[in-house]
Symmetry: C2
Subunit: 482 residues, 2 copies
């Protein structure tokens, strides 16, 4: 995808300035990537905090007001160091004009772990340009987009151009480790720091493929369950007890086997009836999306796709539920052979949820299913099923004012309408913002589907990074007029 050679006249100066600042923007991302802010590694917590301070200084230089590094207290267990402080949330504000709309931009400055020896071609914490690609941990997830917002502000500043909206930043440092403390902060600041926010924009996902920009209007939820089967008081040796006791593993694999078919069909009664019908309008949204089965096969490195057509694949990824069996706790799991009869085993599975599946109703159906299937076994063991955690699905109106503004911005930058996508996974913070701030949320991704967010050799293409800064900028302008 090449950028639009003839952007609208109103953005000519802004886009030219962004192109001019490209070396500075890459340098700023380099500085951010150089700090190994791995939130999942307790020993690197000072680096995460250092990244917050780096952002604070950058924001100061750009003229932000009310900058705060909001402390969230100590990290709850399990944690090695009981006094470990959570990294702060970086709050700041550009403009406070009651005549302007206010946009809250969210991103995260922590990253996934990365070690050169995991198979990186370059040092993960040295942003390295190879051709038109920038490699480095966090380049795309999520330091690129976070720095992208700062770049957009700098371009305005250097042109002496006022931002068309009031901007509030909310950058967190624990996203890769469960966003601890964020929900409470959002609830607490809804009527304080975040008062008057009209729209929330999150840049923390990806284009569907590698060539066409997208806007994302939906996410599946997830209900995670554990089936617990208990029998003997302690693990037994199969030589002594094989054949004369009811083995919990026998029952558990039979229960797990009843949940879903190889073709993906979920066998739990009552779920299908809850799925929102596919309207012609929704179905039509899939017509223009750029995708095919080969993209899926390449992503899985296999020929294991359950569907062959674009629509079937995307609809089953985004708007239908799915059930995955993840594993078993309490059984033998190592390489080699061990002749144990495990006494207490826990089978883990999850169901990705979509409109209009209610979590409570689903849990009821799951319990009914397991109870009924277990009764059929006539086992002297006991089986129970428990909801471990749940997170709701999210769907927005892809034609509301935010999406419309972002669509126009995309067209201005790339010369093409973005695909309207959903995602199969969840981004729980989306729902929190929507609920607490009572605003719409837009997911506006900068990176490509092959950026390798949590993998080795994570990257962002220079064009995605730089045109991304233009897109963020143009979006603010279109939204200000919506």
């Amino acid at each position: 995808m090449a950028p639009n050679p003839n952007p609208p006249q109103e953005f000519a100066a802004l886009f030219a300035k962004i192109d001019e600042l490209k070396p500075k923007f890459i340098e700023r991302l380099q500085e951010a990537v150089a700090i190994p802010s791995v939130s999942g590694d307790e020993s690197l917590r000072p680096e995460v905090v250092r990244t917050a301070h780096f952002l604070k200084e950058e924001l100061e230089k750009l003229g932000a007001k009310d900058i705060e590094l909001r402390e969230l207290g100590t990290q709850p267990p399990p944690v090695a160091n009981k006094d470990l402080q959570l990294p702060p949330i970086v709050l700041s504000r550009f403009g406070n004009d009651p005549n302007k709309k206010t946009v809250l931009v969210y991103g995260h400055y922590d990253v996934q772990p990365a070690l050169k020896e995991d198979g990186w071609s370059t040092d993960p914490f040295t942003l390295t340009q190879v051709g038109d690609v920038l490699y480095g941990r966090g380049s795309s997830d999520d330091k690129g987009p976070v720095i992208g917002w700062l770049n957009a502000i700098q371009a305005h500043n250097e042109l002496g151009l006022e931002l068309p909206v009031n901007l509030v930043t909310c950058f967190e440092g624990m996203e890769e480790s469960g966003s601890l403390g964020l929900d409470q902060l959002i609830a607490q600041e809804a009527q304080a720091y975040f008062k008057g926010v009209d729209a929330v924009t999150i840049s923390d996902n990806y284009w569907l493929g590698t060539t066409k920009p997208v806007l994302t209007y939906g996410l599946r939820g997830v209900n995670y369950y554990e089936i617990s089967v208990k029998g003997p008081a302690a693990d037994l040796h199969s030589g002594l007890f094989g054949g004369i006791v009811a083995e919990p593993m026998t029952d558990l694999v039979k229960l797990l086997a009843t949940l879903v078919e190889t073709n993906g069909k979920i066998n739990i009664k009552g779920i299908e009836e809850q799925i929102a019908p596919l309207t012609a309008a929704e179905d039509a949204l899939y017509d223009d999306i750029e995708f095919d089965v080969e993209v899926l096969n390449q992503a899985t490195g296999s020929q294991t796709a359950l569907y062959k057509t674009k629509k079937e694949i995307l609809q089953h990824r985004w708007r239908y539920p799915s059930l995955s069996v993840h594993g078993i706790e309490g059984a033998f799991y190592e390489a080699g052979a061990k002749t144990v009869i495990p006494a207490h085993v826990k089978g883990k599975f999850s169901i990705r949820t979509v409109p209009n599946i209610s979590s409570e109703k689903l849990t009821l159906l799951v319990k009914q299913h397991i109870d009924s299937e277990f009764a059929k076994l006539g086992s002297p063991n006991t089986a129970t099923v428990e909801l471990i955690h749940d997170g709701d699905y999210w769907v927005s109106d892809p034609h509301n004012s935010q999406f419309t503004a972002a669509s126009l911005a995309t067209e201005a930058v790339w010369g093409i309408k973005p695909d309207l996508t959903r995602e199969g996974g969840s981004i729980p913070i989306t729902l929190t913002f929507e609920k607490e701030l009572k605003t719409d949320v837009l997911l506006l991704p900068l990176g490509r589907g092959d950026d390798g967010a949590h993998s080795t050799n994570e990257k962002i293409d220079v064009s995605n990074y730089i045109e991304g800064v233009k897109t963020l900028s143009a979006y603010l302008h279109y939204y200000s007029k919506a």
Copy 2:
């Protein structure tokens, strides 16, 4: 069970001497238990070797000839210290009279790990008498029986009584860690050190219960299998891929679910036909055995027994095959929740084998079963099943001269005929001796079923230990005349 108050006149002096030496015998076991010869702990290897030297010195004092600590070379990987030497086999000989029968006695001087903090009431490596019970690691498995043979020799020596047979000792130090090196040594010495051996006697198992002595004439074998299901090239995230790819775990739990029913019935076609029919004579062997379902329930700490009658339970433990599902490698196995779609999972199960199931035939049937069940799934994944290891079943004639001699010895000591038992597990060395020396093998246990061989608070009752020495002694006399 109280010892026979009126033992046969021929053993009056011998049994009286054994009773007289009781303090000395307990002291000898104390010295053996005090050396923490844990073969599974590399750092304790010097202690295992020290135990071999302790035995050598005791054997010397008792007048053994040709004593050798036979080195077995370095321990094969996986091992932390590549130069780690295997502990030696203690070979020795009492008597070499061509007019006498020769009995090889096997035992092991290594033990399972034990730490006070695992829940021991006393120090595991200090033999501690509480009432009529001796607590300590190895007291019953297998230092008690090994020292028991030395005690029997001492009693003869002190009475100036010639041993009625030639005796060869074969004491190993790696039994709890796979008996590394032992098979090769037996094969190598069959026509050398072990030339002329008429009978092998192994004291390394237990009474069925706590009150009645047993002789053991059968062991089940075991075939261990791994079903491997492969799909995507790498683990996937269920948010992104749930519902659109064929998941290996879905297929694996379905395959595992087809193997066996909750009631223990194996579903693999062609196995049942191979089981030796139960004759009236064999069935009658079960009539007198002391056992009931409450013993089983107490052992499992649960009410999970599949059968209620003594005969059904024991026959399903000893003379029918069983199938146990042990676990899954490659899937999520920890506590908590992880939304992974594992790319390559391996299901582990084993089948306990009995006469006349052939390992080769069984593996063929298992492959046919898995192939046929997997074909029904219509999955784009691949599934294969592999034999990881096998060990044959063993059954001896419980009325041959060795068993008859041991039965008479038991009666002389305890005043009761022993129960004739089998075991559900395997003792591979039994088959090796039988095959390499072309002799019969007798399993003559000293300890009780509740000795807790591999558990905390392992013990041997003083009466089992001391009457055991008498039983071993009387056995040699009866066998010499058979």
